[in-house]
Subunit: 329 residues, 2 copies
Amino acid sequence: MVSIKDVAKQAGVAISTVSKVLNNYPNVSSQTRERVQKAVEELNFVPNSVAAALSSKKVGRIALLVNLNVSAQAIDEIDMRYISGALQKAMEYKFDVITLFFFMFKDKTVDELIRYLQSQSITGIIIYGLSKEDLVIHQLIEKQIFKCVAIDAPLMNDSTSCITIDHKTAQYEVAKKTIEENTGNKVLYIAGKKNGYVTDDRIEAMKKLAGDMDLILDIHYGEFSEKDSRNLTFKYGKKSNIVVCASDLMAIGAMKALQEMDIFRPVCGFDGTTLMGYVGQQMNTVRQDFEALSAKAVEELANLFDGQKGQLVMMPHELVQINYTDIIV
Amino acid sequence: MVSIKDVAKQAGVAISTVSKVLNNYPNVSSQTRERVQKAVEELNFVPNSVAAALSSKKVGRIALLVNLNVSAQAIDEIDMRYISGALQKAMEYKFDVITLFFFMFKDKTVDELIRYLQSQSITGIIIYGLSKEDLVIHQLIEKQIFKCVAIDAPLMNDSTSCITIDHKTAQYEVAKKTIEENTGNKVLYIAGKKNGYVTDDRIEAMKKLAGDMDLILDIHYGEFSEKDSRNLTFKYGKKSNIVVCASDLMAIGAMKALQEMDIFRPVCGFDGTTLMGYVGQQMNTVRQDFEALSAKAVEELANLFDGQKGQLVMMPHELVQINYTDIIV
DNA sequence: TTGTAGGCGTTATCAT
DNA sequence: ATGATAACGCCTACAA
């Protein structure tokens, strides 16, 4: 393996000079800089990021902390797109990335989690799918030992940013559109997980909409699960004119239930997953660009590494109708 | 951060002794071993795997090389389950894991890929979704610089193993069952990707079945894509009595096409993904335990690290019928 | 501007 | 059985 030492020898300079060139330090003459770069080219040198991580705690080794929801199948698409988006952007920044799942740290304390992350020389973390009940992760964020970026969870401090879309507006818009395209003012809203960050925002939006449009709003928590949504629809679907769901998966559950009950109610979802294309119906939903959100999170982590303070970053969303032919293009 | 040095001090022994205890070296008295272990407990010491990786090239830092198929959406579930299964098992073995996607190395040479992996101190690789056309990866395997485990690609050498199910038998069984449950002897087989490893095996199985059952077999390549399968079904579906597909996604494409053509043909798939539950029909398919396959790959990597030679490991499969209620339990 | 040297946390090779 | 000590490849004061 070709090391920085070989490059130094080839370029006829000291190791530290090579290091300075590699890390874009100011005090290097353009001549030596060129000589070093030439040597790097010739030897096809790639710096060993493990050694770099060991010697300098500043270098970006980041962890993706994903809350894989095993109970809600088919939600995989979202996590996969998150991971893919982050990895791609991390490559640009030359960040090392390790992927972790929440379930790996079940029954672990914050300290244990911290020690694990430190044992991996992790300096930055991106958190996906955080809910208010995940105490350990919250403690982790509060301690500010690592730079953090939370997706869809408005937790900001000096070393923590949040990337999200405007869930309130998005929920308002998609529900309004669906209601306007149909008739009736009795709306069943199947909300997400109790204590979920986005859940409350969206409920608030629905309440505002109910005020604005003079709706009778029936709210139930569906835990983001298809089964819950299905059961709630069996229970309350008949009494309402329209079913608004907090996720595509729940919208599918609702729709299937309505079909089995042999009644029609317009349904709308949230997320814009391709899964929606397989239910054989056209449905309003909110499309999120999960890759872009995740890529932005990596950028934000880079900003935090550069000393910037944590902030809230709002990403755009889009109202769409997804149907089968959209999917298989 | 508490280091091995602190443990040594606490236990009143030398650093090297602590290291020996941690790595289960033989020549340590049980007394000192206990003392060290006690110190580890007290200080909540977790060894820094980055430093270990730097110091010793033997330690298991492994990379998951995933061929994310962006054109075939909804196949995400399989990759996600692969990744999840590997990470979980890797934790048991205390392996470090990084996840990489094929698209990250587009237009890169073997040597560039090797250098990248070396820069990450990677010693073992698990490869998912390899096809015969991925030259660079094949060269990587041949060079035997890293221990490799390929999923569903029968590439074995001293440092390369393969984990797979018996695709030949599985394809034979699921097709036979579907044909026996229905009538007719004209079978449309929509095969996977040309040059895909499993594709040829499965075609062979179908040919054998055709001989055994006296079938008229019509084979077309569908590239594992739903769209291809859909189009092929439009073209050739009518002429046959039964449609056998090389993946669930393709089975769905075929079924949708048949629905649009308003004709009925029994269809069977392959993989046992939850997606099958959303098509509103019951269908024979082959269920693979992707997590288990991936976990086995990690175990196999551990074996290779221990000096074992590469081998072929066959995992079990299961014939199932998936329908909506199976999914939402 | 360039080079020297100490350190990051381990592992591994020697002596002892 | 135990302990110095030199790597591993890189970063970074500090010195020249």
